[in-house]
């Protein structure tokens, strides 16, 4: 059995760790609140915009007219992987990296063999994971999380869109953690480009509308806008999910530390008691020996 002093040192060290994890939990909780507000604000906007776009788009005869909807053979693929800059958030980064690997290995295995799959990483953790698996990272934008605002994000989105239009890539996939609630994230993959126009029933709903200036103009105008919003939303989603994941992970860690301290204290008391008992026993038996 370990000595008293060792146990005492361990208790102190676990207590310090618990202090750190619980502080990190608080910080994440505060940041989560802000990130959560941001994502919940943008969702109705993004959904509405998407709905309008899909509905009008479906009623158009020449959907092909936009440069962003053009379907091409996916010879060159760009995967945009969004993770976090920092670790200590449970399986958050690993899971999303795995999801991305799954995607390229199943859907784009041919392109992968030809070395035509490139990664654009947002978040240091993503980049590390991707490089570890021997994939090619063409660009990384870790600074985006420092100032998560529309100006910076739109700029990157526009760059990606430009690369697609200029045929540098034929397919762009977006892999990120979608924020469900503080404790759970959904690993999601979306096809970012080309835009897929669904031919749904919704078309009818828009038949009687007046369009100003014209359907075609609106679609041309809205597609890039919608793409940028989609990109921004993915980042906000991931950002909120990250803080949620970290909060949960740190909560777990704090609980574990508390449990550990309880066990160690119990063990400490047992050892202390045992040593006292044996001391008394020694004294008593010593006294007995003198009497005899």
């Amino acid at each position: 059995m370990a000595g008293l002093k060792e146990i005492r040192t361990r208790i102190t060290s676990v207590k310090t760790t618990r202090q750190v994890t619980s502080a990190m939990k608080m910080v994440s909780a505060a940041k989560l609140k802000k990130a959560q507000d941001a994502i919940l604000q943008i969702r109705p906007y993004a959904d509405k915009l998407h709905q309008i776009l899909v509905s009008i788009g479906a009623s158009l005869e020449e959907v092909e007219s936009s440069v962003y909807t053009r379907q091409k053979e996916p010879d060159r693929v760009l995967v945009i992987l969004i993770s976090s800059n920092r670790g200590l958030c449970g399986g958050f980064n690993l899971n999303i990296a795995k999801k991305a690997m799954e995607l390229v290995h199943s859907k784009y295995s041919l392109q992968l063999r030809l070395g035509e799959v490139d990664f654009l990483c947002i978040g240091k953790q993503a980049e590390r994971q991707v490089k570890l698996r021997g994939m090619k990272v063409v660009e990384s934008h870790h600074e985006l999380f420092d100032h998560l605002d529309t100006a910076h994000v739109y700029q990157l989105a526009e760059n990606v869109m430009k690369m697609f239009v200029e045929n540098e890539y034929d397919r762009v996939e977006l892999v990120y953690n979608q924020f469900l609630n503080a404790a759970s994230q959904l690993n999601s993959t979306e096809q970012f480009l080309p835009v897929e126009m669904e031919n749904e029933e919704e078309t009818k709903q828009f038949r009687d509308y007046i369009f100003e200036p014209s359907k075609e103009y609106i679609v041309q105008e809205l597609i890039p806008q919608s793409l940028k919003i989609q990109f921004y939303k993915a980042l906000l989603d991931s950002h909120a999910a990250e803080h949620g994941a970290r909060m949960t992970a740190m909560h777990q860690a704090t609980d574990n530390a508390t449990e550990l301290i309880k066990d160690l204290t119990l063990q400490y008391n047992k050892v202390r008691q045992a040593s006292i008992t044996s001391e008394i026993l020694e004294i008593v038996s010593g006294a007995e020996a003198l009497k005899g």
Partner: protein, 80 residues
């Protein structure tokens, strides 16, 4: 007529209104109650809202899109 003005950052207006004037791509236009269903893009300009109590609200936008359907007006606005 129920009006919502949403930007990517937040909802900037929500409530019953009497009339709303919007900077459409083809020019300024105003919508009153029972307007026909409409979708229009917006350009840079000012949205002027007259609410139920005849109070005036103005919002600057740089672009966006508006949808009107069954007396529900949703403005997806972009602003700086």
């Amino acid at each position: 007529m129920f009006l919502e003005i949403i930007t990517p950052e937040k909802k900037i207006y929500e409530g019953e209104v009497k009339r709303v004037r919007l900077p459409g791509s083809k020019g300024l236009f105003e919508m009153l109650k029972n307007h026909a269903p409409l979708i229009s893009t917006l350009r840079k300009g000012t949205i002027r809202v007259i609410d139920e109590n005849d109070r005036r609200h103005t919002f600057e936008v740089t672009g966006g899109v508006v949808e009107n359907k069954d007396n529900n007006v949703i403005v997806l606005a972009e602003s700086d």
